[in-house]
């Protein structure tokens, strides 16, 4: 079985092609929009995606050496994400489905991140940390759904480090040679400045930390502020993670989403895992950030269990939570 998956929920337009046997992933092409300055405007995103869509689709087919006729289903991330960006992916998917008479598989973007994590790390029964620009979620699979143990009460971890880096002039670009600029900056600091550390049960709150860090950046050495921000932000997450480990007794911790590529986070997680006799499984960098292969792969699993949507009902779902999605393919 061959599935073509389309990702367009935020900054990236990506297309991947997967099959249900080794090597599973046949191609994974993406084009990411990076504004020259400031944040991403939804309309600019949509324009970017619409401009690159056709090229990305044909490159993905070419690299997989398949023709669109060989593809069984079209999978598309219908949410959660930014409306105008989502609409581009949905339109491309509907067009392909109608024109080439393919069934359409609706995929939740977060489930895509998680399923590509299982595939690439070989995790069996993990506690899952989904860390990205839009989400900071601690979850695990239980009786047909991913259950959320903890999450951010306001902004996401990736958003926190991105906005801080941008506001103090360290970014864009946000990532240099595989390292986030906050890590590069923090590694030159080392003095801990008092910043708000806010954990509530298994949830964390990052917006106060962002405000306080921006304020501290005007007063203290920037490297020390980067260091303190990173330490406090990651340690809050790790504390919530430990609570979830204590509560669930899981012995694998799987990290997915763009922030999974962080070197300093990996180091901390390994220290934590040692204390709990657990194993850390991190999605490889190529599949950490938003990509089409993860949508194709989650779509392949869903399609095999008859999860399809008619073109006329394939509405985008900007606020679709992972715990709302039935997961029939996991027993």
């Amino acid at each position: 079985m061959l599935v073509l998956g389309i990702e367009s929920t935020a900054h990236t337009f990506g297309v991947g092609i997967v099959t249900d046997e080794r090597p599973y992933i046949l191609s994974n092409i993406r084009d990411t929009y990076v504004p020259k300055s400031g944040g991403m405007k939804p309309t600019d995103l949509a324009r970017h995606h619409a401009t690159v869509a056709a090229d990305v689709v044909s490159q993905a087919l070419k690299e997989a050496s398949v023709s669109i006729k060989d593809v069984d289903h079209i999978a598309v991330a219908l949410g959660p994400g930014i409306g105008p960006a989502l609409r581009v992916g949905a339109v491309v998917a509907r067009t392909l489905a109608l024109k080439f008479d393919k069934k359409l598989v609706p995929v939740n973007h977060g489930i895509g991140h998680i399923e590509i994590g299982y595939l690439t790390t070989g995790a069996k029964d993990p506690l899952i940390l989904y860390l990205s620009g839009g989400n900071t979620i601690i979850t695990t699979f239980y009786e047909g759904r991913f259950r959320v143990f903890g999450e951010t009460l306001d902004i996401a971890l990736g958003n926190l480090i991105d906005v801080f880096s941008r506001e103090v002039g360290l970014a864009p670009p946000y990532v240099v040679n595989g390292k986030h600029v906050i890590d590069i900056c923090a590694d030159q600091g080392g003095k801990l400045i008092d910043l708000p550390y806010v954990v509530k049960g298994q949830d964390m709150s990052y917006s106060g930390l962002l405000t306080a860090s921006l304020k501290a950046a005007r007063k203290y050495d920037l490297h020390d502020v980067c260091y303190s921000l990173r330490e406090v932000a990651f340690d809050m997450l790790l504390e919530a993670t430990e609570r979830a480990i204590a509560l669930t007794g899981k012995r694998e911790v799987m990290i997915v989403g763009g922030v999974a590529a962080s070197v300093s986070l990996r180091k901390k997680l390994e220290d934590l895992a040692r204390e709990w006799d657990a194993e850390v499984k991190i999605v490889p960098p190529a599949f950490a950030g938003d990509n089409g292969a993860m949508i194709a792969y989650a779509g392949l699993l869903a399609g095999k269990h008859g999860v399809f949507v008619d073109v006329e009902n394939s509405h985008i779902r900007p606020r679709w939570r992972i715990d709302e999605v039935p997961i029939p393919w996991r027993a």
Partner: protein, 221 residues
């Protein structure tokens, strides 16, 4: 610490059982985390130990069931407290399967205790079924006050309710509905303006959900 028996490992502490001046006691020692900056680590452990001891004192004064503090060793992040004989509610629920009426009654007890805490101006900070102990005589005890704070802010009370609801949804999805119904009926007896708290819970939960709005807000400037 001789004569002590290690009985549990919590997220942030190790729990020993033993005797203190002849009293059956729990020795709760917060542990250092190798992943944490040493200064931050010390601050957190010291502050939590202090808050926990202080809050238990206020909780007892308000007539709420909690283990009395027998001794505090701040330098070692250790609290010695009464041993509460009973079942941790998390395990109690897991062991009982579906007894709707029993679950509703248990929920009611949790609601009363949470309401009494809030009435006394205390938010627990980690109100999960792991931090409640049910004695054989039916009395419900609250433990683990390391994240607690003195407050009269509805937001803090709503966060307690949210954390409890979250622990029910993720750990006891099948028992959640009767437990939470019971919770509301107990809680509303203690807290006349419970509606305001519940509305705030809903609002807190929506915050996490509004992915789109959150994102464009952060990036639209």
């Amino acid at each position: 610490m001789e004569g002590l028996r290690l009985i549990k490992r919590g997220a942030e502490s190790v729990i020993y059982e033993g005797y203190f001046l002849g009293i059956h006691a729990i020795f709760k020692k917060r542990v250092s985390k190798s992943y944490r900056d040493p200064k931050l680590d010390k601050e957190i452990n010291e502050q939590r130990t202090m808050y926990e001891a202080r809050t238990i004192y206020s909780v007892l004064k308000a007539g709420i069931n909690a283990p009395a503090v027998l001794f505090v060793d701040l330098a070692n992040f250790t609290i010695v407290m009464e041993f509460v004989e009973g079942a941790v509610v998390r395990e109690y629920i897991d062991g009982r399967k579906f007894d709707e009426k029993g679950l509703r009654e248990l929920g009611e007890k949790i609601g009363h205790v949470a309401g009494k805490l809030h009435k006394a101006g205390i938010a627990h900070g980690d109100l999960t079924t792991n931090n409640l102990i049910l004695k054989d005589n039916g009395e419900l005890f609250v433990i683990d006050f390391g994240l607690s704070k003195r407050t009269n802010d509805v937001e803090d009370f709503a966060t307690d309710v949210h954390v409890l609801l979250r622990s029910l949804e993720s750990v006891h999805p099948e028992a959640k509905d009767p437990l939470f119904e019971g919770f509301i009926s107990g809680y509303s007896i203690e807290i006349p303006n419970y509606k305001e708290v519940i509305d705030t819970v809903r609002e807190i939960r929506m915050r996490g959900r509004y992915v789109e709005e959150r994102r464009s807000k952060a990036s639209d400037k």
